[in-house]
Structure formats: structure tokens, C-alpha cells
């Protein structure tokens, strides 16, 4: 994936509205950008996330950032080495993972400790809902 495909800027959160979850998700987007720009991390044996996986993850996180009003921990993106990636949110024994394969098809959200079905659709709406559940729990 080329650096040119990385969005040029990450929007600043509105100053007048206190939304700690938004700040965390914007930090997560910054980390996602850094993940794909760090070319020294990858080689023929350990592949960088594909452009499709990166873009799909970005869209889901950006949608969740708009929708989520609950305080959430920042997410930690990580490559799988086959072109896929994972974005993980942890709080105590609870976890939410955005699981994104290289091809994007078959992406899902995994959650643990939230009294929810473990596998959920990978949408920004669902991620915002699960993050709100994580904050309540």
C-alpha cells in the first residue's frame, strides 16, 4: 500500500463538545495511518495491510467516531502479516476487535465480556454500539 493512499489529514474533534470517545477514536485513526506508513515493518514474508483492508477499517472507525458519545479506550491496530489487520479495544476483561481480512470480505467485530453475541457485523454503527456497551459495563 502506498503512502499516497493514506488520507491527508484526520479531522480535529469539535472543541465545544466534550466527547472523550471521539478523541480516542481519532487517536485510533492516527495509529492506523502510522501502521501502514511504517514501511520498514513489512517485507515479502510479513505483508502490510492491503489498501482495501485499510480503507474499510478507516471507514468503520470514522463512522463510529461520529456516532460514539461514550468514553472509550483508544484502539490498537495491528497487522496480521497476510494483508489483513485487527483493531483492538480493551477495557479490564472486556475486549472488542475489528477483524479485517486482506480482501475485506468476511470482516466482523468480535467482542468478549459484553454479554453480547461474540461475532457481530463490521459496521461503524455496531462498533459505536459495542463501545458504548463497553463503557457501561
Amino acid at each position: 500500500m502506498s503512502a499516497e493512499t493514506v488520507p491527508a489529514s484526520i479531522p480535529e474533534p469539535p472543541e465545544q463538545e466534550e466527547r472523550p470517545g471521539l478523541r480516542s477514536l481519532l487517536l485510533t485513526l492516527q495509529r492506523l495511518s502510522s501502521l501502514v506508513q511504517d514501511r520498514e515493518e513489512y517485507d515479502d514474508e510479513f505483508l502490510a495491510p492491503t489498501e482495501a483492508a485499510y480503507n474499510a477499517a478507516w471507514e468503520i472507525l470514522a463512522e463510529a467516531a461520529i456516532l460514539c458519545r461514550a468514553p472509550t479506550p483508544p484502539g490498537s491496530p495491528a497487522p496480521l502479516g497476510d494483508g489483513g489487520l485487527v483493531v483492538e479495544f480493551n477495557q479490564a476483561s472486556r475486549a472488542i476487535r475489528l477483524m479485517m481480512p486482506a480482501s475485506v470480505e468476511g470482516a466482523y467485530l468480535y467482542c468478549r465480556g459484553l454479554d453480547e453475541k461474540a461475532v457481530q457485523p463490521a459496521t461503524g454503527t455496531d462498533l459505536a454500539r459495542l463501545l458504548a456497551r463497553m463503557a457501561e459495563a
Binding site: 520498514e40 515493518e41 495491528a78 461474540a118 461475532v119
Partner: protein, 134 residues
């Protein structure tokens, strides 16, 4: 013809080491990410580890140490349902005669939701069992 090396299993007390990429460590907590133990499409035979700490420490050009596991602990992971017994077998290669594989890991991108769940459970269990930094 079967490969005798791969039919053997590592003794329970055998230490194995998994190379850790910098991005597999949570920037806020320093804890391992589940990504370190999720099977990728490239890990068809299993997840690579080494009995040699020195070799594991030089697996990647850039890495952040190694995680240590015991073979018996890995085999003791129980996932439900369905049951996915994990294994630990030697898999010597030209580059690393001490190379070994964690076998039986479910596919995190299987079409079956139960297998996806099991793959994430397995990764969580291995993160909890691993000593990191080792």
C-alpha cells in the same frame, strides 16, 4: 510418507518463543495484542515458534522481543464449543532446526461464526499464557 519429526510432540515442559512485531504490543498498556496469536492466511500449518530464544529474537528485521510459552500450557488450552485441540510439534527448517508449530488453531476468517469465536478465544488464551516480555 510421514515425517517422523512432525509426528513427535514437544514435551510439556519445553519452552518455546514467539517473535513479536512492534505493532503487536498495545501502545497504552505494553500488553500483547491478540494479533500475535491469530492465525493468518499464511500460517496454514500452524503458528511459528522456536525452541531457540536466540533464533526467535532475530526472526524479523524489526521486532520487539519474544513471548515465552510452555508446550504443555498450549496443549492445555480448551476452547468451547466446538472443541479445537491445540498442539505443539517440532517443525525443523534449514534456517531454524529448533523451529516448531502451534497447530490446531481455528481460522479467524472462517465462514463459520463458531470457528471465528474459537480463533479469538485461542488468541486470548495464548496472550494470557505467554510471558511477555520474556
Amino acid at each position: 510418507m510421514s515425517d517422523p519429526a512432525r509426528e513427535a510432540r514437544l514435551a510439556d515442559e519445553t519452552e518455546v518463543f514467539r517473535a513479536i512485531k512492534p505493532s503487536w504490543v498495545h501502545p497504552d498498556t505494553g500488553r500483547l495484542s491478540a494479533a500475535a496469536f491469530l492465525r493468518s492466511a499464511r500460517d496454514r500449518d500452524g503458528l511459528s515458534v522456536s525452541r531457540s530464544r536466540a533464533r526467535a529474537e532475530t526472526t524479523y528485521q524489526r521486532q520487539r522481543g519474544v513471548a515465552r510459552l510452555l508446550a504443555g500450557d498450549v496443549r492445555g488450552v480448551s476452547l468451547a464449543p466446538p472443541d479445537w485441540p491445540l498442539g505443539m510439534i517440532p517443525d525443523p527448517t534449514d534456517l531454524d532446526p529448533d523451529h516448531a508449530l502451534i497447530t490446531g488453531l481455528p481460522d479467524p476468517f472462517s465462514p463459520d461464526d463458531g470457528e471465528k469465536d474459537a480463533a479469538n478465544q485461542a488468541a486470548d488464551a495464548l496472550v494470557a499464557l505467554a510471558s511477555y516480555p520474556a
